[in-house]
Symmetry: C2
Subunit: 613 residues, 2 copies
């Protein structure tokens, strides 16, 4: 089927259902960041292959909203179909609701209804768009119109095996986690808790899987009750070892689709996190039951890593450090090795692309013990490409890298021990422009300031954001992305509720939270500089100077990798910052060298040499 | 009448009205920080003279909620009556609603009603407490039960004259302000705007008065309509000059109490700021009209001072600087001058109290051109008294000051030109403890960091809060009050919506906002250190380094007064900070010296001498 044929088929379904429009978001039923291809309805219908977008189809229009990262790609991919691109990053671009509500643009008469697949919207999203549409006099119908038309070639929901994740890694037994969550459920006067976020299920039941790229999760639902824990999952995913594990932990297994019927049978107070649980599950709740929208207690607990999880993170960080050391050594000493053409006697530099770097880095990481996969798609941004914040090179479409200029490298791994995410920016050769040194140093100073921060318990991430920005702000420079996102433990590389951003987030930083610390400066067409470590919140000692009874917190840096000291403008650095950096480099060497051979260790020692004013 | 007699009379009224409890808050009908004594119902009824508290009377209990600042005072003042003290700063103290809702503590049968005087609660407060009480099954009746019993000795509402405030000071004519507010009213589809905040009325109509201590405002209401502006004010307050002024500006004058009838006659959409407008005004709105709760457009505009207002502030600051210079010179050179007892031949130090300092400072300030009054009660906290954040010495109850140790001095003036608020902490003599120098320097570094900050437009005050705290945080020290409050122009020393605090405030800092910058460190029983300047937001130049299209903002320091450089621990200061301080001292001298005599100027020059590492 061509895109236009799919849209025509959808319109036929819309006509039969009495709908004037149908909206297809880029979501899955589990509010996942990375989705199984089975749920890529927006991509299938529109022909646009980017990760983020929303499709709207009316009887005479088919439109795709996406942001500026995807304008170019969407422009190319939509060319052959009737789908029009709505540039949602542009200030004059109407929102979907505005567009639907404007009678001149979507002329619809009488009582108008719009269709939404309730599985693809969280309860909160569904309720927000329904409310906005109802204010414009438009009704909403919960209906899946893609299922009847996407009959051929639809990828199945992945059937990879789930596997138990040992408490030796998780640091807490399932029994203990279930008991704690049941206490919390009782405290909120709930009789049952619906859990649909895949990382929450993986954490709660100490299970992992391979269903989603970059995230070792298992596609499933859970309903937790006082005396029962039901896992809704495709039975093909469970081998006998897994079955034994689930039986041992009194986890009742039911087919994935059985969740709807099961919820329909629940009585009393049913708790669900409306930000995560999809509308279809909510609609399955009986009228006689009480539905209670809460913040998931699993989200809160999962974010605060226990001692075993943190120790695992430290182990994973050493593996990552060895891989990065080998990579940078290769990049410096091997990648551009000149060969001499024996006919012309002219030296030639080996040709290298961003894609080659991504593959080579994967190779080194894959050597690491307990390495499973990348935790996200590596960003290797050479020169101007580094300034494109969500840059993703492909084999076909990537820049050649030369032994000169700036390289931004943002990558991470999923290890059985934990999840890593690190960015380093390095200078590959040639004269360093003074602005590049200034930019690198503003970023580094902010990056260090956040890691060095002490703060009273109760402090929110957004209160610390300016610490990472103050030096670049002084120079009139800022950046648009968050300064830090939460990170899971052998789970999502992005997790909530903790973060460090400009916008207000009511969550205070708490002991065991892991966040990234990644300020950046981006010069369009020239370079991008970002420096990122993962850090975790730890208690700080009361000092003698303390005037209040506040408990004090600080950060422990988890990530282990040297900075490119050639890029530092030393005149901007304070003594405290230099001391911090030198002590960090001593630690990087000490913790990484045991994993390296003599050559590699010697290389790392040079990279970690102390700097002085 | 004794307090118990007043309570008995109130209970009689409660019985007749069918109420089980009556709540008397420490508010006035205009949501004022400083109140005319006519409205001090809580103080009159309870016998407690502090500024902050709420009284609850049931048939068998009379209770006063107040915070820890007032425990001592309330304990003494309530001793002779049946009123019990509820220590609301204590963690186990129930809130008023919790206490009223607890059936064991306030046993009340059947349908229970509680009385509130709707004039004394803002619409938002009234709606919040009504909602909470209704969840506990308690109803609310709008009724004033103090009026019938407070018949003798009740102070009248002040009848001081109102006076026009020249546009030469205000920087904008009434005509222009009214036109702008009418545009804003139309933009929010409003037909009328009720204004009850006294500083908003004073700003809008360019009038001032003497009705409230520390705030040059006129007790009145305003209703603004497209073709009419009505001022509700006691006619005795208007002399012929004022009448001419109001006539000239087409402001219709009506009696103060006529506001209720006037509102009852309003049709269409009536806008009001529920955070400021009292419930009684709201209840006067007819059912057929539409009441629309909005943020006052006057609040927003008033906060962004125009060029004339800012120039006035700079003039007022120079007056303040001269007064403080004279005060500190007197304190250093005269106050403790030793006299020799001619009989014993022993030298004697003159005796001096905190109250003496307050009076002397007033004397110097009163010499200033266009000085009207203090902008708040001066805080002179000697040694341990400086650690009591809201310390208020009285003539009868204050400490003796000796030429040794620490003095915190927080004061401000109302000048026709503008409002000032400044804190300096100085060392009066003796050996300086090292911890005192460290504390002073942490505070100073934070105070300077906020003044030096540059930030992109859209930044909120709470994003900058950590800049002022980062150095003391590093030492494990923090403080509980806000870092900065908004300041009015010849109006309230505290105004919204701008501030710098830990809690989230959605208001971005905007050009023309004035805020204080006043970090502090408080050591119980030892000393309090606070350093405060007023600063205003100004546009910052784009630098060549700028990477984005953000507009940049920074602060201009308005306050002019030297710091006590003896208290600075120089080893903690960076070169940038020392440069900033030296440049500031050069400016202080340059702008203040022309107002001083030769001796004073010489003294100031010594105080402003450059410091070096």
């Amino acid at each position: 089927m061509t895109t236009n044929e799919k849209i025509a088929a959808l319109r036929q379904e819309m006509r039969e259902a009495g709908l004037v429009a149908y909206v297809v978001p880029g979501n899955d039923p589990h509010a996942s960041e990375y989705m199984a291809s089975h749920w890529c309805e927006m991509q299938w219908l529109s022909g646009f292959s980017g990760e983020s977008g929303t499709m709207v189809v009316t009887m005479d229009k088919a439109l795709l909203w996406t942001d500026s990262r995807y304008y170019l790609q969407a422009g190319i991919e939509l060319k052959e179909s009737e789908v029009e691109l709505m540039r949602e990053s542009d200030v004059d671009c109407p929102s979907i609701v505005e567009w639907l509500a404007a009678p001149t643009k979507a002329p619809m008469e009488g009582r108008r209804f719009i269709g939404l697949n309730p599985e693809m919207w969280s309860v909160d999203q569904f309720s927000a768009i329904s409310h906005q549409l109802s204010e414009a006099g438009i009704g909403v119908k919960s209906i899946d119109l893609i299922k009847p038309i996407w009959t051929e070639g639809r990828p199945a929901i992945p059937t990879d095996k789930l596997y138990p994740y040992s408490a030796d890694f998780a640091g807490e037994t399932v029994e203990s986690k279930l008991a704690r969550m049941r206490e919390k459920l009782a405290a909120m006067h709930g009789d049952s808790l619906i859990i649909s976020a895949l990382d929450e299920i993986a954490w709660l039941l100490n299970i992992r899987g391979n269903d989603v790229e970059y995230n070792p999760v298992v596609i499933s639902y859970v309903v937790l009750e006082a005396d029962k824990c039901s896992l809704f999952v495709n039975p093909d995913k469970i081998d006998s070892a897994a079955q034994n594990y689930l039986d041992f932990n009194n986890i009742d297994v039911q087919p994935y689709e059985a969740i709807f019927g099961y919820i329909a049978g629940l009585k009393g107070t049913i708790c669900y996190d409306g930000a995560k649980v999809n509308e279809a599950l909510y609609e399955a709740i009986q009228q006689s039951a009480i539905a209670k929208n809460i913040q998931s207690p699993i989200l809160i607990d999962k974010a605060q890593k226990n001692a075993v999880e943190l120790e695992g993170e430290r182990i994973a960080m050493r593996q990552d450090a060895a891989a990065l050391t080998r990579f940078f050594k290769w990049l410096e000493e091997e990648a551009f090795k000149k060969s001499t053409d024996r006919f012309t006697d002219r030296t030639q530099t080996a040709s290298l692309t961003e894609w080659d770097l991504m593959e080579k880095l994967h190779e080194f990481r894959a050597m690491g013990e307990n390495f499973i996969e990348e935790s996200f798609g590596t960003i290797a941004g050479y020169q101007g490409n580094g300034a494109i914040v969500h840059y993703a090179a492909t084999k076909e479409n990537c820049a050649e890298v030369k032994p000169e200029g700036m390289l931004l490298l943002d990558s991470g791994g999923q290890y059985l021990d934990g999840t890593t995410d690190i960015t380093r920016t390095v200078w590959l050769g040639g004269r360093i422009p003074q602005q590049a040194k200034l930019d690198y140093t503003y970023v580094l100073k902010g990056h260090i300031a956040l890691q060095r921060a002490r703060f009273p318990r109760g402090t929110r991430g957004n209160q610390l954001d300016a610490l990472a920005k103050q030096y670049m702000w002084e120079a009139g420079i800022t950046f648009g992305h968050g300064t830090g996102h939460g990170v899971g433990h052998f789970l999502g590389c992005h997790e909530g509720p903790q973060n460090v951003r400009t916008d207000n987030n009511p969550t205070p930083l708490a002991v065991g939270h892991i966040i990234s610390d990644e300020p950046g400066i981006y010069r369009t067409g020239k370079w991008g500089i970002r420096t990122e470590n993962l850090i975790t919140v730890i208690p700080a000692k009361q000092t003698k100077a303390t005037t209040t009874e506040d408990e004090w917190l600080q950060f422990e840096t988890l990530t282990l990798c040297f900075y490119d000291t050639n890029l530092i403008e030393m005149s901007l650095m304070t003594e405290d910052e230099i001391d911090w950096l030198n002590a960090y480099h001593v630690r990087v060497y000490k913790e990484t060298a045991p994993l390296l051979n003599a050559d590699e260790a010697e290389y790392l020692a040079r990279k970690c040499a102390a700097i002085e004013i």
